[in-house]
Amino acid sequence: MQITAALPVAKMVGANRTVLGNGIVHVVGDAKATPEKEKEVRRKLVEQALSALQSDEK
């Protein structure tokens, strides 16, 4: 599945499982957060991705 900030493009080319990433310059990060908080953000996104992999919903 795909984690990206540019969802319209992913949808257009037909990506089936997508998760909205946190921006273009740090799609699974957050430069404004503390390192701990950032890891949480990243983990959350990855968990969403893993959830999507276990689901048959688009």
């Binding site: 990206t4 273009i24 990060g29 950032e38």
Partner: protein, 346 residues
């Protein structure tokens, strides 16, 4: 002008479906519709050889048949290769397309064919060839040959070829630039006025619909799943050992994360010109979430994280590259028994 003409079993006068298994045959001179072609081209145009092949044989033995045909075209010292026209006949169209394509690239002589827009051969080959729009009605053979003859003459005299509409060929789906009278600003105002007044206008570009990708079934047991990470953000080891290009990348690489818990900025660089790389430089996990994936692996949430990540650059990358690379990566993943991929994109 020496011409070699390809016909299927029907137009070649051998018979109908029952002769569709006929292997490639060679005849001297023009046959059937080929005589009309000679006439319309006029001058010193002569069909020196006609090649006939059954539609089934052509499809089932395409490579061998094409190689054989190329030899015959070479031996005939042809200046021009013509196939069909095929109208709606799908197997015929596929064969004609494959032949024209191969003759064009291997022998560098002009090639021309004709098909209906819906012919599967048109879909596969329109980008590489001039395929005259023959429509589906074989009774229009004469008009179709005339259009083919005109185009053939232009190709032989290296006269620039006009638009699909002007010249009667199927849109190839290619772009070439031209300088025009009006600036983009003027064209924008012209077009918006036409549109808002409900008048007809011709857009300079048309969006393409992408064929839907079937959805692979979901993972039933994540704790047993083998997961691979891929990125198109251009993250590569320092030194870019595979020399992956920052834009219009034609290559991708696989990079070891074996025994690694955390990606360090000093070990990597970014080959991608389309985004500000400073945040990923500081911490590459912001692009390829290795640290979190490793945690999840240790916790048993996922079965296994594959010990390499795949990487390329998606910047300004045309579909002709990305489709191929995607297929190659998928093939590798399949071979390794990967159950799922997480692709992180900029």
């Amino acid at each position: 002008m020496r011409i070699v003409h390809y016909l299927n079993q029907f137009f070649g006068g051998l018979g109908g479906e029952e002769r569709a298994g006929t292997p490639l045959e060679v005849r001297e001179g023009a046959l059937g519709p080929g005589k009309l072609l000679e006439q319309l081209l006029g001058g010193d145009a002569k069909v020196v050889t006609t090649l006939i092949c059954g539609d089934n044989h052509a499809v089932e033995n395409q490579d061998a048949m094409v190689a054989d045909a190329i030899e015959k075209v070479r031996q005939a010292e042809a200046d021009l290769f013509v196939a069909g026209p095929c109208f709606q006949a799908g197997r015929y169209g596929m064969a004609a397309g494959a032949l024209c394509s191969a003759v064009q690239s291997k022998l560098s002589i002009p090639v021309i064919t004709g098909m209906a827009d819906e012919n599967p051969g048109a879909d596969l080959y329109r980008e590489f060839l001039y395929i005259v729009d023959s429509g589906t009605n074989a009774a229009r053979m004469r008009e179709v040959f005339m259009t083919m003859a005109n185009l053939a003459r232009k190709m032989m005299s290296k006269t620039p070829i006009g638009s699909p509409k002007e010249e009667g060929y199927l849109t190839r789906g290619l772009i070439r630039d031209q300088f025009v009278e009006k600036t983009a600003g003027e064209r924008l105002v012209d077009m918006v006025l036409a549109k808002v007044k409900g008048e007809l206008f011709e857009s300079e570009m048309v969006p393409t619909a992408f064929a839907p990708v079937p959805m692979p079934p979901s993972i039933k047991d994540l704790t047993k799943a083998k997961i691979m990470l891929i990125t198109d953000g251009g993250l590569v080891p320092k030194g870019n050992p595979d020399k992956i290009q920052g834009s219009v990348a034609t290559r991708w690489g696989s990079y070891s994360i074996d025994g690694c818990d955390d990606l360090k900025g000093e070990d990597y660089e970014i080959s991608h010109g389309g985004y500000d790389p400073q945040f990923v430089h500081q911490d590459p996990d912001r692009l390829v979430p290795l640290d979190v994936m490793r945690q999840l692996e240790k916790e048993g949430v996922i079965g296994e994280l594959y010990d390499e990540f795949l990487s390329t650059s998606g910047l300004a990358n045309p579909l002709s590259n990305t489709r191929r690379m995607g297929r190659e990566m998928a093939a590798k993943a399949k071979q390794l028994g990967i159950d799922a991929i997480i692709l992180t994109s900029t």
